[in-house]
């Protein structure tokens, strides 16, 4: 029986431990947002990650050391998996000077340059081509090996996705395209937007490898990422990692489509069923991750204790950030140009 304290501790080298830690941290942070958003301290449009924790945590864990990352407006899980800093995270959501981006970016544009998360964007698909540049940088400067970009299934409808895939394949750049497919763009299903046969079919038109992972546990997601990484280094082509997941909440905000208690922002259009929702309520990524730990031989109470510790760290981070200073416009003004 392994000691979970050891695995989740800062210097742990256990992948499994780090994976569950990432999922727990994302989950606990999102929980806090849901609890506190209506207090109107976090004045930023939240696109919640609830549901994609495993996918993101798994991929990031595999690529953390040797990659540049780019994301989209659904930044929470990516920021937390990469930067692992709930304090800077909440400070950013609260508009504080101490935030990851000094309060300038808010929920939709968080980055962590020091950790390789270079840019995220509130414009669908707009960071996809940035992955090409980082891959080129890797080729010329050799500081890192891979370039990883996350985007939603809706991003495939933007032309720039195709331009990028074509260029990545043509220049043989080892880019991992991670499509986080919740089957929805706002509240439009794929069948209401897609004229292609399947994402697989589309991608396979290019000289690009395709890997699919549907609703993975965090360990499965990690496994898919490992497979993708092998393909990246062996084939000299980009890899498209297609990951299915269930979006628990509405497109934006903390409401869901079914419960009466949560504030609902988006009109309920009946675009999905309560049955499906109930099914997924039983499979929340963190619970699944815990079960996986237990199945792998960890003691349940140890795992839970560690998760509680993370919840505690997270809560403290939120409280601390609440007390921080707002950034000043005067300072922000000086950051438009680097020189």
């Amino acid at each position: 029986m392994k000691n979970i304290e050891e695995v989740i501790g800062k210097h742990s080298d256990s992948v499994r431990g780090r994976l569950v830690e990432s999922v727990a941290m994302i989950t606990k942070c999102e929980d806090l947002i849901v609890q506190h958003y209506n207090e109107n301290q976090m004045k930023t449009p939240m696109h919640m990650s609830v549901g994609d924790e495993s996918c993101v945590a798994g991929v990031v864990e595999c690529f953390r050391e040797d990659s540049y990352f780019f994301g989209y407006y659904r930044t929470h899980s990516l920021y937390l998996a990469v930067a692992r800093d709930p304090y800077k995270f909440f400070a950013e959501l609260l508009g504080k000077k101490t935030g990851s981006n000094g309060g300038i970016a808010g929920s939709m544009h968080m980055s962590s340059v020091a950790d390789g998360l270079l840019n995220t964007s509130a414009l669908v698909a707009s960071t996809i081509p940035l992955s090409l540049g980082a891959a080129l940088s890797n080729r010329l400067l050799k500081e890192k090996s891979y370039s990883v970009v996350f985007f939603g299934d809706g991003a495939i409808e933007e032309g720039v996705f195709h331009e990028t895939l074509n260029m990545a394949a043509f220049f043989k750049l080892p880019i991992l395209f991670v499509c986080l497919d919740n089957g929805l763009a706002v509240d439009l299903k794929g069948e209401a937007r897609q004229g292609f046969k399947s994402i697989k079919n589309l991608v396979e038109g290019y000289k690009c490898e395709y890997v699919f992972s549907d609703n993975p546990t965090v360990n499965e997601a990690y496994g898919a990422a490992v497979q993708a990484k092998r393909l990246l280094s062996e084939c000299g082509t980009p890899v498209f990692l297609h990951m299915g997941y269930y979006r628990y909440l509405q497109h934006i905000g903390i409401g869901d489509d079914f419960s009466e208690t949560n504030a609902s922002t988006f009109e309920k259009r009946n675009y999905r069923s309560l049955e499906l929702h109930k099914k997924y309520l039983k499979k929340h990524p963190l619970e699944v991750a815990v079960s996986e730990m237990v199945a792998a031989g960890w003691e349940k109470s140890d795992v839970e204790k560690s998760i509680d510790r993370i919840a505690d760290i997270t809560l403290k981070a939120y409280s601390k950030a609440l007390g921080d200073q707002f950034s000043s416009y005067g300072e922000a003004e000086g950051k438009v140009y680097f020189d």
Binding site: K43, P45, A192, G195, E267, F326, A332
Partner: protein, 365 residues
């Protein structure tokens, strides 16, 4: 927070928080009516965009006219804008909608290279009846990807008409006219104006939208404002009147066509000798400079002091609320500017509150 209603000239009311009166109708509903009426009249009018709710301004239209005339597209702004051009050239009258004007930048090749040149290219043979509606976002951390204004950018391009109605009546009248126009029109709608209410006119025929709108009359200083800045200027006018007995002659630059028809503005400046431009956009190389050019050309000798302007700060818009507050110009900035011009000391603002959108919407957007 009190319900602060800035009274302008009798006809127009800027409602800074919701006013529950029967005869009044919101800017948002005014747009809805305009489109509904024109769609009912003309089967070639249709609506298309990635988001066909548009904050309620398209409410009921899909149910009434069907998905063939209210079309929700994939997330493909560029191709959709090309579609709109192809449709216009082949007899339809498209209304394209963008939930933020920032997204229109993905389609600027179609707008600036293709749409603006289509009629000219055909030697004047082909109509190009396109209306592109785009919302100018603001507040609650929308930030630099969801809150651009960009009217100054589109105002540069010959072949495009640009409108930015401020009042509900203008929204209805100008959009109806734009739908009937055989040339492309870009309509920029400030998100916060959606809550403005006004008693609606019955008849919009005969109104000339190619001149500035007159928001209120006064004799001491001429203010020219665009879009939301008219609301700030109205509040500024009230403060100036209350505190300094200074009266403001306020004009709304509601269309780029107005730039060619500023006679009333010149007359006003001949009277006041002072002019401030309040532009809801970045200042650099934009609409405020253009207005300045025309005024100095026509009123050089009448100006007792140089033309001043207030507008967005020269940075992207940060997301934190306090950054937003400093980024945007407001009524108090206009008051301070007038005070300097008039050589009077700064008044206190305690009694006055700026419009807080948070009484209207809070997160997430």
């Amino acid at each position: 927070m009190t319900n602060l209603v800035v009274m302008a000239k009798p006809k127009v009311k800027f409602i800074l928080t919701k006013l529950k009166s029967k005869e009044f109708i919101s800017y948002c509903s005014a747009i809805n009516q305009a489109i509904d009426e024109e769609m009912a009249l003309d089967k070639s009018v249709f609506v298309i965009g990635g988001e066909t709710k548009m904050f309620g301004s398209l409410a009921g239209l899909e149910e009434k006219y069907g998905v063939e005339r209210v079309i929700t597209t994939p997330i493909s702004e560029d191709a959709t804008t090309g579609l709109v051009l192809g449709a216009a050239l082949s007899g339809l009258r498209p209304i394209q909608v963008h939930i933020r004007v920032d997204f229109l930048l993905l389609a600027v090749n179609q707008v600036i290279n293709m749409i603006s040149t289509a009629t000219f290219a055909s030697d004047g043979k082909v109509k190009c009846p396109i209306l592109i509606r785009a919302v100018v976002g603001r507040g609650w951390g929308q930030g630099y990807h969801h809150s651009k204004s960009l009217h100054g950018l589109f105002a540069q391009i010959p072949g495009l008409k640009l409108i930015m109605p401020t009042t509900p009546n203008d929204a209805k009248g100008m959009i109806k006219q734009a739908i009937k126009s055989n040339s492309p029109v870009i309509c920029l709608e400030h998100r916060w104006l959606y809550w403005q209410e006004e008693e609606l006119l019955n008849d919009f025929s005969g109104i000339d939208y190619g001149v500035p709108g007159k928001i209120q009359s006064g004799g001491d200083v001429t203010v020219i404002a665009s879009s939301w800045m008219n609301v700030e200027a109205s509040l500024a006018a009230k403060i100036l009147s209350d505190k300094h007995d200074i009266s403001v002659d306020l004009f709304d630059i509601r269309s780029t066509e107005s730039l060619n028809n500023l006679t009333e503005v010149y007359d006003s400046i001949r009277k006041t000798g002072r002019c401030i431009i309040g532009d809801n956009d970045w200042l650099s190389s934009g609409l405020s400079g253009e207005i300045t050019y025309h005024i100095q050309k026509n009123c050089l000798g009448d100006l007792t002091t140089s033309i001043e302007r207030v507008g967005f700060k020269g940075t992207p818009c940060g997301t934190a609320r306090h950054l937003e507050d400093e980024f945007y110009p407001n009524a108090f900035d206009i008051v301070r500017c007038v005070e300097k011009m008039a050589g009077v000391g700064p008044c206190a603002f305690e009694e006055y509150k700026l419009f807080s959108h948070e009484t209207k919407f809070k997160g997430p957007f």
